[in-house]
Amino acid sequence: MSDNAAELSAPTRDALAQLLLGIADDEFVIGFWDSEWTGIAPMLEEDVATSSISQDEIGHARALYEMLSELTGQEADEIAFGRAPDAYRHAALMNHARTDWAFTIARRYLYETADAVRLEALARSSYEPLAQLTTKMRREERYHLMHLDAWLRRLAADADASSRLASALRTLWSDALAIFSPVPGEEVLVRGGELPEPMDSLRARWLDQVSPVLADLGLPGPTPDDLAASAEDGRTRRTDDFRWLHGEFTMVAAAERGATW
């Protein structure tokens, strides 16, 4: 059990920083993508709900960047807004543009269910600050999952929406699997219990949970090709869509470096 960053060995600290950066960037980038629905969601109420959930995700990212800051000494804002696009470590799932509502729901569903498995494991982390933070995050993510589940079932029940969902899922599956790409230095974290289980076993648990739900709704699971695809660059490959989003979300910070308000 470690209570603070100073007690960690250098290899553990570096690997933990990689793990936190990936999760923080996942939350940060999906929060920004989905905040793009503000003003144009299917109905006013959904507009508010989606925007609020997106804010929650950015809030989670902020807490994670601050924890990361304890490990690296770098300012949280600088980590969030000060990197070039290629230095972000979100899963490839978050490389895609917002696209249509069914695509957004498909992506969020894959993300939220995977995130739930990951958070459940991290709530048992031997790094006490991380265990505490993820326990708090899980309480908010519970509502996100309920909201997503409600939308997934509704869209799946409609012929046109269901075919859009299916096509989005086929596009996204291989990139969603990248959420569980191995973290550099993962074996150190598993040994120390900072990451209580290897990513591979989290990935298997996630697939066991999600595949039957999607199958019941007549929606596609991952193909053998998706499953066999290499996950090595799952958190490093970037796209023009993401580069565009990066330009948007760093615009204000870039206007005057180090400004406070």
């Binding site: 109905m43 006013l44 109420e45 508010v48 709900a49 609020s52 509502y143 309920m146 409600a150 509704r154």
Partner: protein, 109 residues
């Protein structure tokens, strides 16, 4: 529907309780196709800032409304039905004196 909203959209009235034991107070309403999404939206509109302890979400068309002026505002004088027309204070003091407990006015001195 005549107001141009989608066919399955319904209005749900939301009542909010600020702290345990407080009354449920009508806060406003949300539009949603069904109870489940109505609950989600009520949570976003009236609970996302941690300002609520409990919400009631009620379909507007499940509410029985009474607004008939003949029933609620009948034309004859009703002042004798208001409790204010009947002063109990002196009777209460007399009763307390008989029972040997100090009257309210003394107890406050």
């Amino acid at each position: 529907m005549s107001d141009g909203s989608p066919p399955h959209d319904r209005v749900w009235e939301v009542f909010r309780q600020e702290a345990e034991g407080d009354p449920m107070i009508h806060s406003g309403n949300v539009r949603a196709p069904d109870e489940e999404l109505a609950m989600h939206y009520a949570r976003e509109f009236y609970g996302r800032r941690q300002e609520s302890n409990r919400l009631w979400v009620v379909a507007r068309d499940a509410i029985t409304e009474l607004d008939d002026p003949d029933l609620l505002k009948p034309p004859f004088d009703r002042s004798f039905k208001r409790p204010g027309g009947y002063l109990i204070k002196h009777k209460l003091e007399a009763a307390k004196a008989r029972a040997g407990t100090p009257a309210a006015s003394e107890a406050h001195e």
